[in-house]
Symmetry: C3
Subunit: 344 residues, 3 copies
Amino acid sequence: MDRKNYQLDAIAAQFGGQVLGDGTTSINQVATLESARVGHLTFLANSRYRVQLAGTHAAAIIVGVADAESTSLPRIVCKNPYLYFAKVSAFLNPPQQLQQGIHNSAVIGAGAQIHPTAHIGPYVEIGARVKIGAGSTIMSGCSIGADTVLGEHALLYPRVVVYHNCVLGNRLIVHSGAIIGSDGFGLALDDDRWLKIPQIGRVIIGDDVEIGANTTIDRGALDDTVIGDGVKLDNQIQISHNVRIGEHTVMAGASGIAGSGIVGRYCRIGGHSGILGHIQIADHVEISSHTMIGKSIREPGTYTGIFPFSDARAWRKNAAQIRHLDELVERIKMLEQEILKKEN
Amino acid sequence: MDRKNYQLDAIAAQFGGQVLGDGTTSINQVATLESARVGHLTFLANSRYRVQLAGTHAAAIIVGVADAESTSLPRIVCKNPYLYFAKVSAFLNPPQQLQQGIHNSAVIGAGAQIHPTAHIGPYVEIGARVKIGAGSTIMSGCSIGADTVLGEHALLYPRVVVYHNCVLGNRLIVHSGAIIGSDGFGLALDDDRWLKIPQIGRVIIGDDVEIGANTTIDRGALDDTVIGDGVKLDNQIQISHNVRIGEHTVMAGASGIAGSGIVGRYCRIGGHSGILGHIQIADHVEISSHTMIGKSIREPGTYTGIFPFSDARAWRKNAAQIRHLDELVERIKMLEQEILKKEN
Amino acid sequence: MDRKNYQLDAIAAQFGGQVLGDGTTSINQVATLESARVGHLTFLANSRYRVQLAGTHAAAIIVGVADAESTSLPRIVCKNPYLYFAKVSAFLNPPQQLQQGIHNSAVIGAGAQIHPTAHIGPYVEIGARVKIGAGSTIMSGCSIGADTVLGEHALLYPRVVVYHNCVLGNRLIVHSGAIIGSDGFGLALDDDRWLKIPQIGRVIIGDDVEIGANTTIDRGALDDTVIGDGVKLDNQIQISHNVRIGEHTVMAGASGIAGSGIVGRYCRIGGHSGILGHIQIADHVEISSHTMIGKSIREPGTYTGIFPFSDARAWRKNAAQIRHLDELVERIKMLEQEILKKEN
């Protein structure tokens, strides 16, 4: 594939920063210090990697002010090299533009309104009265349930399923295998049988959201499940019914929020972590990986609950004592009293 | 969408309870105390929410005997308002009935027997000799492997995959992305290579089971994986080969059971929890979220193993001590001996 | 289905071992001691199950040298009965061979090279310039992105998605719902917005790899995500961008590796466990289920970090003390000093 070339000066003209060295250097892709070759722009975001500077074969490099003279390569000096790199990479790697129009194998429900600039791939099923906004791309094998509304310039990778009656924002990205709007887990015990409670709420997703592969977002039981603007969800996340996630919160892979959890804005939820049902989490809370949050968090900060690993033999000895911790505390109390007695 | 209206008296005639206030009040949907509007029936299942009674815009309300006079709204007084609400909601929100017959894009294998009242959606692949019972719905893009048998009035949402030779019961609901009958994880070490052990067992699923989005249920290695009647599985659960789950057990999202685990009846398994291989769990056992069960449980009860979270600084200090717990116990023993020595 | 029969002598001629008893015994399938019937070959791999020998209805049995005389059934005596059974089972249960050629509903991109002996099922989408090797099977509803290369004799079960530009080896098995090559979770904070970092690396998968149902493997951010030869991944595993997994490592269900993790060869990673970002794990490391690995492991061995479960009441008492462990250690120190003071 032929890639378009840009001069270093042209990049700086668009994204700012100061060019040092040959500004006519030709750039067509970004790469790491180690793998960069001719035509590649690399970056030094962390001075830990400064040692790799000498060996790089990059054509040019993005560096911070402190590293302006750490290399003789053509370079762009800027405040935040990682962010600068992210912007240049987005510029050099625009999202794929698929052909406008509806593939002849797609099945389109009655009353569906699909913008003429949208792409509907093969084997897609679009339900009745669905609306698809301008420039949106629905790749092969997706299924969109009746009455669902999707905004503009959204991108659904192959085999995404959206159930009926959901509202999805602009510039949404959904990766393959994600399921949006499946029934929440609502049951009532009727004598000795579980009775299913119809899940009649919706999923509402704001603008600029990204949803990872095989992530699942359940519809609300009565009210809606709501994902705020700018939320980013990694793969295999489970969002239960009636959860509300605040704007710009990010969640790492395989984490989950149980029913009716409310998470604030700008939170960072670690991988494999979980938040129990009906819990509320304040804005700007960071939750570590593998941590279970069992009560509401009112204050910003970082919260952790990881059992520290060790080699299995040491673990066995120490873990065994956990089952006697309470009793251990009693023994210490007793000792303290004994000592006190002796002192008097 | 026009919704059908029912008078409060008609609802009570069908589901029991005592009507207080205007029995001709018109009802067409259920809703929460907060979101209910004209035509909505709400419920008060927990006296904690009694404070919201005053502000509700519901047309009518389901209340317990103790709350019969807590409101002047038209109301149905009954023993278990949550269960009553569940029944009314199921009545007002019956499952969608899709058109009988086979979509012309579906591929049907030789010898398949599909009941004429079943719905087979677009892009569905039905394998050879598959049987689909009366009134069952197979939505778009599902794949049913050869020789699999599906009961009556089952509902498979889009993009469900069932492998060959499985047996699935009546009224089964399977949400999108669930995989039933994939190979169990069976390997034997042959010198320095892993040899795959063919997984020739089946998955057998009873009646009235619900399976959540992206849940996976592996087929048995030699014998079968068995899911009992009335079992309810939430999203992203992993059921390994040869697991047996007893009737009416429920499992919350992202939990899992490793190979050959046997779980009793009426158990409640929390989210993100796990049960190791070859473990047996008695009836009526509740397992907390994020808990790992490493040995069999013989007695009903609630079992927990969660590391309590705290702010990261406190966690670091306390978690560090876990690696020295055994040694700590030794120090306490020593102190106790010292004290004893002094006493003699 | 009629199954082919083999005499016990013929099996021993192919796989070795010594036949005792009637070598003309007819065998057409393998089974457990308990479920075996006429025509079934069973095995005794663990002397714990010797008690079941008396009751088996198997036609013949594979036993170790120590158990050669534990039964009077026709038998094959060998060194490793479990491995022997695995080999015979693989012989008796060869992978399904689907019809060569491309289903007429499949959509094939420009310039794709599909070997004439490959099987392409219904509703499959093959992107531009994709290469599919000899004897490979792509079952219904799979999607293979542009420029991806798949080796020979691979088997993709229904509804697998492979993104563009990946390289997949020979004899690869991928179960339904698995997603290969989705975007890694790469974000940069731009003021108060998350900026997506294009994920332009690939996924490279070696030979003889198996990938479980609904497992997700993200493509690299700049460099590649690499899965070595002979790696076996169970269901619902999450492999993040730029992870590298060494040859013949196995991972159990719902485990995960965060970004840029490097795992050695012949490791065994337990279910529901996790490895944090940028961690390195040596060869021959075993990680227990539900364990979170937060720093690199340089030495082979078994590593564990499980909170031991107990009944909820005991857990509450003991877990409460974890939040005071550090303080507890201070109290013990104080006691030790007191004792010391008294001794002097």
